[in-house]
Symmetry: C2
Subunit: 537 residues, 2 copies
């Protein structure tokens, strides 16, 4: 999303991220965050993402408040890749040399199914009540449908209740609202990295809430059985670390299925993480927006709402949306499920700023109740297409000798391009990303997900074959030319973790976290240091 | 909306409102507003709206942050009337003894026209681009349509530009976003009272921005030619007063046509107010959500976008929505027009939390471009129905001997029920409101609009005849019984302004601000002091 210049590229097991520039944010936080931690960056310099965009907009002529300038900076700096793509979007006929977008997490495989369903006559119900001010929690008929839907697909042990449902215009809004009502300004949520980077601004822009990272890494050591494995021990250490640095941690964010890793947590892991949160009286926000996009059944996905018992139901808040699972990120429909009525009411109070059209509420209710279409048409076809696309890209990557996590859920592969970096730095990572973009293929780089190891990229495969093929061709060209370059330069001096070696990474792992071995191995690459930013969606 | 207990019921010409409870808010503001004014309430005790709901939710068991508790408090306390209405909603067949809602500002006169238009086949366009992540400023095709629409209906001297348009899910969101990007936490906007009270929470809940009131009154003195007249002199005095109390005023909010007064500002007045803002480098937010609901042509409405020259275009931000003018408050479509690209971009950056469905964006573009339907079907019929309903209610009020502002724009009459209060206090006003609600007719009381004079009510007339008739019958019964009660009690001791006397109020005034004389006069009333809250919408 918005990687910032790092004073050090190596990050510790825990680190509190400010997610924006020190200068601007400090003035923002002076106004907003008296309870923010006591300048931990002075104790641990270099552990923060800090840049200096303030020079761009700190002139007296600005009409914006200091926080307005920070908010605008996020827009200006956060979307370079996204914006570049939209200015030069690939089109088979009109712009065949345009950019192939393998960076934005959208499912483009099922527009035919969706268009057909959304064009049916039941989607054009116009009643006076839909045109009037709604219950800001959502129309009762929709909340009832959502409760039934989640009960069924999350396999809840008892029927979920409509009164625990709040609907709003997407999970971005839900993160914003939850951060604001659960935390004071300056407080923090714990989050394992790499994570869907947009959450940083979702909790920060309005709520001024920060993220305390639980850095995971690809190297399998100690009790780990998989790369990037989250354990209760790591959570405990990260919480201790963040707290000792002055952060007041109020909750934990879990993404399941995980974005960008493409794996899932087992019920035992979930219970462990929820138990950890209960012990520390932390809220848990569980983002399950990919729950119906698990196309590898062997992963055995379990929703947190399907657990027999929640350790702390009053502090467990689950979010889901149609953006990913129904490939409709432009429809802006998301939902909260929480047994905590105080939280539900406080979020509902903010829902007048996150409301969605009554007509859309009616459409979503029609869609969610159409179990025949979902179970017999949409989901089987969607999963089959996702699987085929996943297989194609996986095989291409293997042919390229590029390691990656196997995945099996979501729209992405977590790809290890570390050996194509001249050095293991985020500057080099950004350079490779820029090189790819110049070659007309957009990926998301690991820093956007706060990955601690430079060189990882998220690659979206949920796209039509002709676009995937072209995207992979362009990727191959860049990687081959990078390999060629490395023949002219000395080998990299930065240490490599075993995971980049084919033999060492060929191990099995639960939950889609197998790192697939490359069939060949390309060299590392050099290039000038350039800074750029992109966005994860 | 959420009137709070007043230490004094008399208010000065200027006063900074905190809009919520002192205890909770001070803890909120400790975290959020280091730049907030230096405790002006210590200098002018009793000039603030302060209550003590903190006791309700300050227990340790709360899972919410302090600001979360404030946000929830707004929900819990702000919607008594609205909620009571929804639990006992009038229905001609199913619940003929239910509550008639003359409190919520919705136009219920044109659902037939709207349903017909929104059910046409052009409303069911489903294209992949509409299902994907949008440009957060709004789809370009919609922004283009909005620019054309506003150019035409605001009679702009030159075509308005799509790049100055940002669309989002309603003006509540727009107030929230503008407050956040224009002001630091704790800063203030100047606003003439009475005003659409929901703005208080729109600028406060996320933005922590406050309102500095320019209190207008019904008495016509000095240079005034109308009751509740806004003048540049009053703006100057209010700004000086608020500033001297420590408030940092960053802008001015104008509502035109005015809610709840139902009048409009002349081009000369607008130029004066904009010139005032320019002199003080204040932003001006102009809320024109009722611009097409001017059903008295003689009012001569002028949009600020139709002025030949804006004194400070970089600080002039105009909002419009379909909620009122197209009777679709449930559709959640609003738009900002500003020439200031920094402001547009900063608001757009927050639009990921205020986004609206791509399908709705397509529908709105279809609607706005259908000039034939708007000009030949919808607007003439809508204005004719509004006018008929306005005439009916006006005549009923005159027959009841109740003075009111004539209006001619919007859905409301600003009604003077001061003589039905035993004393000129807000407690008495609330008592009368509660008495009306118990008699199954919901109005909005003046404190919800920060009217400085207790006893004014906003009465919505944009409803079907059978509901209006029943509502007016119930109003008559309550007022008659209140008159009856006054025969048993001494006459009120609080001073009355001339405006409540039939003879004295029969004066003419531009812009719909004529106060119509009653045909009879009922007495004042007594009753126990009770506190309650309602919401304006």
């Amino acid at each position: 999303m918005f990687p910032l210049p790092q004073k050090e590229s190596r990050a510790p097991a825990t680190c509190l991220g400010s997610a924006t520039t020190q200068d601007v944010v400090s003035s923002y936080q002076d106004g907003l965050g008296r309870e923010s931690p006591g300048k931990p960056d002075q104790k641990l310099p270099g552990l923060y993402g800090v840049g200096d965009p303030v020079s761009k907009f700190s002139s007296d002529s600005s009409c914006l408040s200091s926080r307005g300038r920070v908010i605008k900076w996020f827009w200006d700096s956060a979307e370079e890749g996204y914006r570049t793509y939209h200015m030069d979007e690939y089109d088979e006929v009109k712009n065949p040399d345009g950019i192939i977008n393998l960076g934005t997490s959208e499912n483009k495989l099922c527009f035919d199914l969706l268009s057909r369903r959304l064009s049916q006559s039941d989607m054009l119900r116009v009643e006076p009540s839909l045109l009037q001010y709604p219950d800001w929690r959502g129309h009762p008929f929709l909340r009832e449908e959502v409760a039934k839907f989640l009960s069924y697909y999350c396999k809840s042990p008892a029927p979920l209740k409509p009164e625990n449902v709040v609907v709003l215009n997407g999970c971005a809004s839900l993160f914003s609202a939850l951060a604001t009502v659960l935390c004071e300004a300056g407080e923090a949520f714990l989050i394992p990295t790499p994570y869907y980077g947009a959450i940083t601004q979702h909790v920060y822009l309005y709520g001024n809430v920060r993220l305390a990272y639980v850095y995971l890494d690809s190297e399998v050591t100690g009790l780990d059985s998989c790369p990037f494995q989250l354990t209760v021990e790591k959570l405990e250490l990260a919480l201790q670390g963040a707290t000792s640095e002055g952060a007041k941690v109020k909750g934990l964010i879990l993404i399941n299925p995980q974005n960008p890793l493409g794996n899932v947590y087992s019920p035992e892991e979930l219970q462990g993480f929820l138990g950890f949160a209960e012990r520390h009286k932390l809220h848990v926000i569980v983002d399950e927006v990919y729950m119906l996009s698990v196309f590898e059944e062997s992963l055995g996905y379990h929703s947190v709402l399907g657990l027999e018992r929640l350790p702390d139901p009053q502090r467990t808040h689950v979010m889901w949306a149609t953006s990913k699972d129904f490939g409709m990120s432009g429809l802006r429909f998301g939902t909260l499920y929480t047994e905590n009525q105080e939280v539900a009411t406080a979020v509902a109070s903010l829902c007048r700023y996150h409301g969605l059209s009554g007509l859309l509420q009616s459409q979503m209710a029609q869609l969610l109740r159409d179990r025949d279409w979902i179970n017999q048409v949409y989901l089987p076809e969607n999963h089959s297409r996702l699987k085929a696309a996943h297989t194609y890209v996986s095989e291409e990557l293997q042919a390229l000798g590029v390691p990656f996590l196997r995945g099996g859920a979501g729209f992405f592969l977590w790809v290890d391009l570390r050996k194509f970096l001249r050095q293991g730095t985020f500057e080099e990572e950004l350079l490779l990303w820029r090189r790819l973009l110049e070659s007309k293929v957009l990926l998301s780089f690991g820093k956007a997900f706060e990955c601690k190891e430079p060189g990882w990229f998220r690659l979206i495969f949920s796209d039509k074959t002709h676009r995937l093929r072209l995207g992979m061709q362009r990727l191959r060209q860049v990687l081959e030319s990078k390999s060629q370059e490395t023949e002219d330069v000395p080998p990299p001096t930065t240490p490599r973790t075993p995971v980049s070696s084919a033999d060492e990474v060929a191990f099995a792992c639960d939950s889609g976290r197998r790192l697939l071995p490359p069939k060949s191995s390309l060299g590392a690459a050099r290039g000038p240091v350039m800074m750029c930013r992109t966005e994860t969606l």
